[in-house]
């Protein structure tokens, strides 16, 4: 597959700057910081535990991302369809996958900015005690990968509609299912009738279960593979959607 990295870079640059073109970016970053701090401190028992670790902070990330990543990804394609810019973009001498990758990377980089800002919490725990830095680093990597998987799904769904709100809602629903698929609620419901391999499959796809493993400090291959392959698969579908349905 021929690929122009220049095109990917140009799309990335445009989209990344577009996030900051409105005050929305600042609002988003603030909300993300406030929520992740608030949830960790008040709902996660950060203080009561009396130990300097970021476990309660990371534990909320699957729930935060299932709302925040659709918010970051929803405009990537739906807005191009609504405004008609997709017609301009896809008649430039570029390949669909270059644009898909450039846009995804821009959203992912924006997520990275948000995560880097939360590293202030890490500094607090370093000041309060001695957290296991290996675990923190593994958790950050896990969180970034999981965010990428949610984002790729959101971008892919955004390519299917010209309505950002619909894109947001559908992406949040799909993300919610992926988070929930590891909970006892879902597994118990399945166990009643589904064959064992299906229960195992659903459980192994759970974003929460896999993310939990990573936050325990082991960069486990299966968890990394799950998130990376989700990204690749969602982006591949994204390319097919754009190729098949350029016009609305």
């Amino acid at each position: 597959m021929k690929t122009s990295f220049r095109t990917i870079g140009l799309v990335f640059g445009r989209e990344f700057r577009a996030y900051f073109a409105t005050p929305l970016a600042a609002v988003f970053l603030l909300v993300f910081l406030a929520l992740s701090a608030g949830l960790a401190f008040f709902a996660g028992g950060f203080f009561e535990r009396g130990q300097a670790d970021l476990g309660p902070f990371f534990a909320w990330h699957p729930w935060l991302f299932l709302i925040l990543m659709p918010a970051i990804g929803m405009r990537l394609w739906a807005d191009e369809r609504r405004s008609g810019v997709i017609e301009l973009l896809m008649t430039l001498p570029v390949r669909a996958h270059e644009v898909v990758i450039g846009k995804f990377l821009a959203g992912w980089a924006f997520t990275a900015v948000a995560l880097v800002l939360t590293m202030s919490f890490w500094l607090v725990t370093l000041y309060l005690g001695s957290p296991d830095n290996g675990i923190v680093i593994a958790s950050y990597i896990g969180s970034f990968l999981m965010a990428g998987a949610f984002l790729a799904i959101s971008a892919c769904i955004s390519a299917m509609t010209k309505n950002q709100v619909i894109a947001f809602i559908l992406a949040a629903i799909v993300s919610f299912l992926l988070v929930m698929s590891g909970t006892n609620l879902v597994l118990a419901a399945l166990r009643g009738w589904a064959p064992a391999f299906l229960v195992d499959l659903v459980q192994s796809l759970s974003f929460i279960t896999n993310f939990d493993r990573l936050t325990r400090g082991v960069l486990e291959a299966p968890a990394v593979i799950l998130f990376v392959s989700t990204i690749v698969l969602a982006l591949w579908i994204n390319v097919q959607v754009i190729d098949a349905k350029k016009a609305v």
Binding site: R6, L10, A18, T22, E87, L88, T91, P93, V94, R95
Partner: protein, 246 residues
Amino acid sequence: MQLVQASGLVKTFSRLRAVDGVSLEVSRGEVVGFLGPNGAGKSTTMKMLTGFLEPDAGTASIAGHDVFADPIAARRRLGYLPEGAPAYGDMTVADFLAFVGRMRGLTNAVLGERLAEMVERVNLTAVWNRPIDALSKGFKRRVGIAQALIHDPEVLILDEPTDGLDPNQKHDMRELIAAIAPGKAIVISTHILEEVEAICSRVVIIAEGRVVADATPSALLDAAIVDGQRPTLETVFRSITGSKAA
């Protein structure tokens, strides 16, 4: 070789046959006025010529490159103004044109020259650093035209380029098109018939997805002479397409 070559283009939306076997050839130096009533299928035909929309049947090529088999090569030689002149509203005019130019592979040196030329020829000095969202309709249209011309393409497909322009701008636009026409093949859709007489070397009229006339403006008028009276292009347009719609 024809710079634009399309044969038997068909596009059906659910049950509506928007384009029904349109063929079109445009050679270097020609400016084709693409006319037809609202909903005749002009924009849909142009979307297929540019490779944006896949036809149900028929083929299209730009400068000898099939728009589907060899899309990148075809698109390189093409400048396209889509209907409504879409653009990234959050970018300034300067940033947007630079983005399109770079996406089209222009090097920084060439891009600088081309941007300078566009500022002057399309008259964008006043809005150069303004966000596109904040521009008036006419200026947005001009940005769309500049975007289509940025790489000095051999083939230009412009969907209603003068819609929303003031009389001065319309005049300038016609002069611009006349000036660049000799080296290019240009297809322009429009509802402004004086424009066709002023700049087009050929008129193609479509109605309900079919080509109903394809001639030079004067041949079209001569053919419609009644009692030694040469009718206006508007009369001809209405007699050709009006009866179809009825």
